[in-house]
Amino acid sequence: MHTRKISHLSSLWTILKKEVIDNARDRRTLTTMGVSIVIFPLLIFGLLWYLDKTVKEETDLVNADAVKLPVIGAEYAPNLMTWLRQNNIEIVDAPDDPEASISQGEHRVILLISENYPEAFRKGTTAPLRLIHDSSITGLEKIGYSTVRNAINAYSGQISSLRLMARGVNPEVVRPIRINTSDVATPQARSGQFLTMMPYLMIMFIMAGGMYLAIDTTAGEREKGSLEPLLTQPVKRHIVLLAKLGATVVFSSLTLLLVLSGLALAFKYMPVDLISISVSLGSILKIFVACLPFVFAGCALMVLVASYTKSYKEAQSYLGMVMMIPTLPLMSLAFISPEPSLSNMWIPALSQGMIIIETLKGEHIPMNLIGVSMICSLLLATVLAWFAIKLYQRERILG
């Protein structure tokens, strides 16, 4: 009879090591992690590129370059031409077939002035103009069309005022309402919108990274019939559970690290001028460390739920829903954008979300607030792990 001293720690290490090796050979786990390192930067890359481009071009179009406007029959309306030039619109020669050139995309908008225009203008009736454009064009290209249209409308408004005044009528009589709008959106605000997505994505990836392992090591192991032999080994059940939780944490945090590296890469190779986001090695590490307690809590939650369920399928469908829970507090980030304070930094997921956003913005968060966030999430993790251990100690775990 062999009597060997078996320490809890070495048992824990043996089980953890086995679960990590076992799952490193699982294609689903690897796919999730592969996706996190490839898709995440691409996603950010694409989003930033689009935002950057939009903001830049909009600024250019509105402020700098004159809109080129081909005009047919410019000689019929010299005053209008002067007005348009004053409004930063350059009058150029029109192509022979205006409609074709619009539909082929050579020009965005062409103005057609008919020979009836001067006659109608002189008589004081409505003078016809024709603007040819392609309404299926959206986005920035539309700006040229609306600039021209707005300029012509302004001209029309001015003429109508003059005509009314010539007849002794106050022009304001026919303009009962005037709307003044002011748009205060800045590029920073746009990047803010973009930033609120970051915590959401990161927390989803943290959960997804550990999900298969959480299922496999509990519900999956029971379904395959290997749990009972494992539980007849000279290892305490809470050690078995903690080792499995540990392995889940390893994969979750690895996924988080990959996501953060992806983020750093995306920013490094992305010329972003308008969006001020700071990503340095320091901030990546800060986010990683601050999120670790949440990784524990999320993994404990998944292990708890997976221990409760009876089969792999059941665990999978429950965990699909459970993964949504940590994203609920994050919703408030999009709506009310709270400032980090003692009253909200104790909330797991939300506090990590704020740490991610503020750190990426390059703003400082007091260490005590980060401490509150970490301690509260760790507490939650401990409570969840305790419940999971209790579940694991029931006889019913063996089904």
């Binding site: 009879m1 062999h2 043996t14 086995k18 090796i21 076992d22 699982d26 009972e228 006889e395």
Partner: protein
């Protein structure tokens, strides 16, 4: 050595076992025979510390299975019902894993795994990942895993389930060798011929209690039946559930 004294266990309103007593000696093969649902697995599960009995006592090498759980677990090797192995690990890694959980390591463990691979005729597939193994190969891995720490007491729950004739013969040989090496072997089965062919002692369980027990010869005498099969049927009181 295994001693079981008046074990009782309920699952809700269902009495799984209702006063089971028997003992299994070292160097002998003891068979738990009974129809499906008679309480064989529940008895074994209490013995290998997965379940707690409601009342009664179970001792393995004089250690109480409800008190000294970890020590009991080091002294038993268990082949559970429908034992699953890890598909993404090789056969060797599967066996090594359980060896490590018993505190074995390094050369000692490697040599033991080689020894078992030889004994159970596993050399063809010992280095292959377990995905796609036949039922016979899986059972061999599970058995090697149960024996890796050289346990004095070996508990096997329906070990021949799903095995073909050759694999069954191989298993019988292994069980015989364990007996010769002085181990206490306790196995459950609902296959009469198997129990008759192997066991020194037979414990017949029906409806959660021991209906009869003793050596095959004494069972025949007790029931006044020349044929062991008739003796079983008489002891159980029905032909239901036996093969």
């Amino acid at each position: 050595m295994i001693e079981v004294l008046d074990l009782k266990k309920c699952f809700g309103a269902v009495k799984a076992i209702d006063g089971v007593s028997f003992s299994a000696q070292d160097g002998k093969i003891t068979g738990l025979l009974g129809p499906n649902g008679a309480g064989k697995s529940t008895t074994l599960r209490i013995l290998y510390t997965a379940f707690r009995p409601d009342s009664g006592k179970a001792l393995i090498d004089n250690r109480d299975v409800t008190v000294d759980k970890l020590a009991v677990r080091t002294s038993i090797g268990v082949l559970t019902h429908g034992a699953g192995i890890y598909e993404r690990l090789t056969a060797r890694e599967n066996v090594r894993y359980f060896g490590e959980l018993h505190g074995m390591s390094g050369k000692e463990l490697d040599m033991r795994v080689d020894e078992l691979a030889e004994l159970l005729d596993m050399n063809d597939f010992i280095s292959r990942r377990a995905k796609g193994f036949s039922q016979g190969q899986k059972t061999k891995v599970a058995l090697a895993r149960a024996l890796v720490h050289k346990p004095r007491n070996v508990l096997l729950d329906e070990p021949t389930n799903g095995l073909d004739i050759m694999a069954t013969r191989g298993l019988r040989e292994v069980i015989q060798r364990l007996k010769d090496a002085g181990h206490c072997v306790l196995f459950s089965s609902h296959v009469m011929q198997e129990v008759a062919a192997l066991c020194d002692e037979i414990v017949i369980i029906a409806n959660g209690t021991v209906a009869a027990s003793g050596s095959p010869d004494s069972l025949r005498q007790e029931t006044n039946e020349a044929n062991l099969e008739d003796a079983f049927v008489k002891a159980i009181g029905s032909e239901e559930g036996l093969i």
